[in-house]
Amino acid sequence: MATTLQPPQTEAERQPRSHSGTGSGGGFHGSVPDRRSLPAVKDSSGEPTRTGIWVGLSAIAMMFAALTSALYVREGAATDWHHIVLPPILWFNTLALIASSIALEVARRRIAAFMRGQEGNRSVPMLWLQITMLLGLVFVVGQYLAWLNLRSQGLYLPTNPNSSFFYVFTGVHVLHVLGGLGGLTRVMLKFHSTTNPLRRSTLDATSYYWHFMGMLWIYLLFVLWMKL
């Protein structure tokens, strides 16, 4: 998508052209528009990227709500639900994801300062973006190690409902985190580019998504800790 910057239109440019109706004419003339008596005309536009990300996040939230309810129903449906011990590396992964959110927030503020001319060096915000990326990758690798840990205990996807839900929750979440890493890569490329510059809304949308992934993971971890 390419939502580009356009200069604000003057009122003259916004004059409507005559419509293309093929009505009968009717002989009613002299209808000089009296702006004061017309219904108020105001700009109704907003920013689609910001709206889009919130809408997308609500769909993701709904999806995990459905999975959570499935977990609770499945737990109550049979007696084969036994506690498993969460791999300890999950706590480290959680810290890495929280740290990545903090790093991204620093990067966002530095980029804003850079755009306002208060930050002279592009490399400082870029460094924070790279730290965010690195911590995100650490999280993904850490989740993979958690799966290896479960496998070493003989807990595979179909072994029991607990392990099934663990793999589903973490797998679907990691897929979304990988999407976030793709978004961060896009932000870095645009921030580096002079021909296709970064827009504030793109940065904000990516940040909201990334922070949401962090909060979602804490929620999932809580559910898994409670139920597994």
Partner: protein, 591 residues
């Protein structure tokens, strides 16, 4: 870093054939692609229903060419009972997902929502393109099930577990065919989520100057509300399909209970809950009914206002009713599960909001009828199909009163009564809305008029034919005729076979009548009379484009300003008895 200024969303004009007609970013081309896909799906689904109807009344009659499609399912062209269920499954899936979701919502919504709010395109054109092509892939995956060795699945469009979750032990089609079904719907969910996101962002953020929410046409409101419903509904079906695929392919036990012995084979699963699938599916499934019908409600309201030449008694009430229906649609999924053994008190909890849905539905119907009363309605194909929609919506909806009550539903649920109910209120009514929209917007989409004479013949044949098919279904259900049986030759239902024969004749007649529509569509596309820019003298923005079809950016580089709501009919203005939304004129006295 820069901030976008709102409603200007650019992609340049297409320069290559591929970009213009195949992988197009233009919402109008994408809308037409959705329409074409829905057309292919609806005729495929209709042929499947013909085969089922013929088999029901002449179970030993060979059906030409069918034997070539499936040597196992239809040896010598004679449908086996299992293949009958496969045909039923594919008919339902094609119709619900690829027709009733695609045509009134994705096709017309894509084409006209941006134009009606004064935008140049959807908020995210690339997502839009991805949405269509993902839908197309889902369609191909589903249709591929016809050509795999064990044929298409037989678990119905609802794919109830454990039948759908176990695998090939449960019958022909339950191997690879059922996996393809689950994969297809999984992909379809992703496409629908992308589409819904686009619709919501477009409506909220790309409205032109002066186009407040209150000034949006009812049909734009319908698409917006539908996209909100679809966003949450498909977000539930998506993980449900994932869990189903895992049960089938990875050996998990989300939906498969312990100790299940199928075809003398003890299933290696334990502890799963078949009811969990039903809960997840119907949490999507009931809102899906409104994903199909709300856009049709919007379309016919839009068309009727224009043809009555006066506003509805209360267009805001219709919008509030659509919102109310959307809200309630998430509280009623259990009424599809009254027979699942749920606690009677739970059934009451689901029954009450189900009955409450009839309140906004009835209010809307009364507004349509009250507005039509005394109006000087212009009779054309679009307005006739709009009235046909109301007729079908009411006739099919009335039986919903009965089915909403658990004590009655327990008797009727597994009978043809339910088949008649949902085909009329959800299927045919929505299709009537699609036909109305086609006749109404065809001039804008192609620059040519459709034949009104053929359109009226098409309407009367379709109305009579669909009533002849689906009203007797209610009678069959009351007589205890169970559904999903492939033949009734040797049991207590034999006396009802003449009714089935009548329905089969009616189905063949109604299907043949659709050839009139196809001929009209193709002939008018190339040979139809040139259309004026605003042939129906309608006020909304799609009739303010500089040409028909509109240019790639819809308004030729100009940004419209909206001064009025779209209900300025029966007024005195320089254009006649209506005032375009873009006209800065003040309405004169009612002539």
């Amino acid at each position: 870093m820069s901030e976008a200024s709102a409603h200007v969303v650019h992609h340049g004009p297409p320069t290559s054939f591929i970009r213009k007609h195949v992988f197009s970013l233009d919402h109008k081309v994408i809308g037409k692609q959705y329409y074409a896909l829905a057309l292919v799906a609806v005729f495929t689904g209709m042929v499947l229903s013909w085969i089922m109807r013929i088999h029901l009344v002449w179970p030993n009659a060979p059906i030409p060419l069918l034997g070539l499609l499936s040597k196992v399912g239809a040896p010598g062209g004679i449908v086996t009972p299992e293949y009958y269920l496969s045909l039923m499954t594919m008919h339902g899936t094609l119709m619900v997902f690829f027709v009733l979701t695609n045509a009134p919502f994705a096709a017309f919504g894509n084409y006209f929502l941006p134009i009606q709010i004064g935008a140049e395109d959807m908020a995210f054109p690339r997502f839009n393109m991805m949405s269509f092509w993902t839908t197309f892939i889902a369609f191909c995956i589903l249709v591929a099930a016809f050509f795999v060795p064990d044929g298409p699945p037989l678990s119905g469009w609802t794919a109830y577990a454990p039948l759908s979750a176990i695998g090939k032990d449960t019958g022909p089609g339950e191997g690879l065919g059922q996996t393809l079904w689950a994969l297809s719907i999984f992909v379809f969910c992703i496409a629908s989520l992308l589409g819904s996101l686009n619709f919501i962002a477009t409506t909220l953020d790309l409205r032109t100057k002066g186009m407040t929410l209150a000034r949006m046409p009812i049909v734009s409101w319908a698409w917006f509300i539908t996209s909100c419903i679809a966003l949450l509904a498909f977000a539930v079906l998506l993980p449900a399909c994932l869990l189903l695929i895992l049960d089938r392919a990875a050996g998990t036990s989300f939906f498969i209970p312990s100790g299940l012995n199928v075809s003398d084979h003890l299933q290696p699963h334990q502890g799963g809950s078949p009811l969990l699938w039903q809960h997840l599916f119907w949490f999507f499934g009931h809102p899906e009914v409104y994903i199909a019908i709300l856009p049709a409600i919007g379309i016919v309201s839009h068309i009727l206002i224009c043809n009555m030449r006066k506003p509805m008694l209360s267009h805001k009430t219709i919008i509030y009713c659509m919102m109310g229906i959307g809200f309630l649609s998430y509280m009623v999924w259990g009424h599809h599960m009254f027979l699942s053994g749920m606690n009677p008190f739970s059934a009451l909890v689901f029954s009450f909001p189900t009955l409450m849905i009839t309140i906004p539905a009835t209010i809307m119907t009364l507004i349509w009828l009250g507005s039509l009363y005394g109006s000087n309605l212009r009779i054309n194909s679009a307005s006739l199909f709009s009235i046909g929609f109301i007729s079908m919506f009411v006739s099919g909806g009335v039986s919903g009163f009965f089915l909403a009550q658990p004590s009655i539903d327990i008797y009727l649920h597994a009978t043809y009564f339910v088949v008649g109910h949902f085909h009329m209120v959800m299927g045919v009514a929505a299709i009537m809305g699609v036909f109305a929209g086609t006749y109404f917007w065809f001039p804008k989409m192609t620059g040519r008029m459709m034949s009104e004479t053929l359109g009226k013949w098409h309407f009367f044949f379709t109305l009579i034919g669909t009533y002849a098919i689906f009203m007797p279904f209610h009678y069959l259900g009351l007589a205890g005729n169970v559904r999903r049986y492939s033949a009734f030759t040797d049991d207590f239902l034999v006396p009802l076979i003449p009714v089935h024969k009548f329905i089969t004749y009616a189905a063949l007649f109604t299907g043949a009548a659709q050839l009139i529509f196809i001929f009209n569509l193709i002939y008018s596309r190339f040979k139809g009379a040139p259309a004026p820019d605003n042939p129906w003298e309608c006020t909304s923005l799609e009739w303010s484009t500089p040409s028909s079809p509109p240019p790639f950016d819809n308004f030729g580089g100009q940004h419209l300003v909206v001064y009025h709501d779209p209900h300025q009919y029966g007024v005195k203005s320089s254009t006649g008895d209506y005032l375009m939304q873009t006209s800065p004129e003040r309405a004169g006295e009612t002539p």
